[in-house]
Amino acid sequence: MRGEERVSPALDERIHHPTRLAVMAFLSGCTEAEFRAVREGCGISDSVLSKVVGALEAAEYVKVRKGYVGKRPRTWLRLSPEGRRALLAHLVALRDLAAQAAALGAAAEEASAAEA
């Protein structure tokens, strides 16, 4: 999934980028996660996660909650209901794409085998 690649209409371009997809998928595995847990779970840096969260928050796919544990500030992230729906639809589109392409490949192989 390269940045310059055109996104299929069925795919959601706001979560098509691998890092955004990873963050969305991570958050789909829990109700809420602390910023640091997401960063470590997805294996990305603070600055990259901040940018991704900013973009996903602007798309209203992620909700950000700021709070304190003792005196230390903490940022908690969770998927919004729209975010969950969008992720589900995106994953379905990816599965369809993989299945369609695999079926096309198999048909092409059969045709070339029949010609031979």
Binding site: A22, A25, G29, C42, L91, R95, A98
Partner: protein, 150 residues
């Protein structure tokens, strides 16, 4: 070339699944005895607290709620040990549907309210404790079985 989008899509799906699992997997795999002990501690603890209203005023009516509270505290400590994961909040179990969980604990509330209606505070605690303990046992057993599946 049909293989390329298929490979890209399959790779994206695998990465998404791995990220999801990283958040969803438990911090510690609970031992086999944990569901039964969790449910048992809750049932025994609340039952002992509830018996406080079923026995005449004596040293027993003081000791029963104290021991009951200790058992409930032990349940909370165990739950924190085996279910809490720093930085991750799981409001619902991973392998049981939200509807099933809601219905199960709604059933617990109905049993507790029914027992409370018939037997007062003793019934409320004992009914709620036993049904809540059974509900915990059942749900935690399902969660453990779900985590063990590849």
């Amino acid at each position: 070339m049909p293989g390329t989008p298929a490979l890209d899509a399959a790779a994206a799906l695998r990465a998404a699944e791995a990220a999801h699992d990283a958040a969803a997997r438990p911090g510690v795999v609970p031992p086999a005895w944990y569901p039964a002990v969790n449910g048992g501690l809750m049932a025994a603890g609340l039952t002992l607290i509830g018996l406080r209203w079923a026995v005449p005023d004596s040293w027993l009516s003081v000791a029963l709620p104290l021991v009951g509270a200790l058992l409930v505290a032990a349940q909370v400590v165990l739950a924190r040990r085996f279910e809490h994961r720093p930085g991750i909040i799981q409001a619902y179990p991973r392998h049981t549907g939200r509807r099933q969980v809601t219905l199960t604990y709604a059933g617990v509330l109905v049993v507790a309210a029914g027992a409370g209606g018939f037997f007062g505070l003793a019934g409320l605690y004992i009914g709620g404790g036993i049904s809540g303990g059974l509900a915990n046992w059942w749900l935690l057993t399902r969660e453990r079985a779900g985590d063990a599946r590849p």
